[in-house]
Amino acid sequence: MYRDLFKLNWNDFDPRFFENLQSRIGRIFEDELGGVVRPRRSAACPAVNFYESGTDYMMETELPGLDKADIDLQVAGNKVTFSGEFKPTTVEHAAFHRREREAGKFSRTFTLPDEVDVAKVKAEFRDGVLRVRIGKADKCLPKKISIEG
């Protein structure tokens, strides 16, 4: 039974395992020691910040090295989804000294507290940062009520 555990299929072995291992170990050290390399990007799950004003939401995520044509962004109801892929660096006739920039596909979906207006979405990709401004639906905006009497 235990023997099955060791029946690794080396054909399925991902050659990036050791490269990723290096950066993972590096991350442990730098978290503990305040240190050396802090890759901020996770290829499978890019970090996202959300902001809110009275009328808008704003999503911000860092996608360095991507082409804007390769980013898929969708907004519907109160959900925002973005997806894409960090392509691995490929070079010929060269030896890698370091490989810290992760490659891989990602897709993230967020549910916002209020419904949004699809007509009021503005997306901008500049210097590797995707910023999406999403207007709240009219029915979710506060309305000033005049008091009679």
């Binding site: 970090a47 911000e60 090295g65 060269a94 507290p113 210097d127």
Partner: protein
Amino acid sequence: MDEKINPRDGKIAKTELGAGPLKAEAVAHDRRIDTPACDIWEGETEFTILSDMPGVGKDGVTIDYEEGELKIYGKVDASGREGMTTLLNEFSVGDYSRVFRIPEGIDPERITAAVRDGVLKVTLPKLEKLKARKIAIE
């Protein structure tokens, strides 16, 4: 995967500490600095460094080479969120800085750099005399 955003979580209290040049200076010294992730490879004629610096434009990059050390610095334009409250905060925005010890045999005069879509590329050509040469056997 679906992630719900709760406006009551992760909200950051804002404290205004007055305005004017004094505050601007204090903020400038208080900038967070991250070490950017890099791919580095060595080809026949040069070393190349690719560095993830999202948020850094062409004008924000500073590169210094001195006594075998290459220092890269990327300044991030952190504006554009004025008057907004934070709902979810998975990353903090800061500048980037990293120093590399460069092996001997680099021609400092021919170092070039370019930044595109938040990725800095630095090319460090090797000195002519150190380039690998194919020796013909007679």
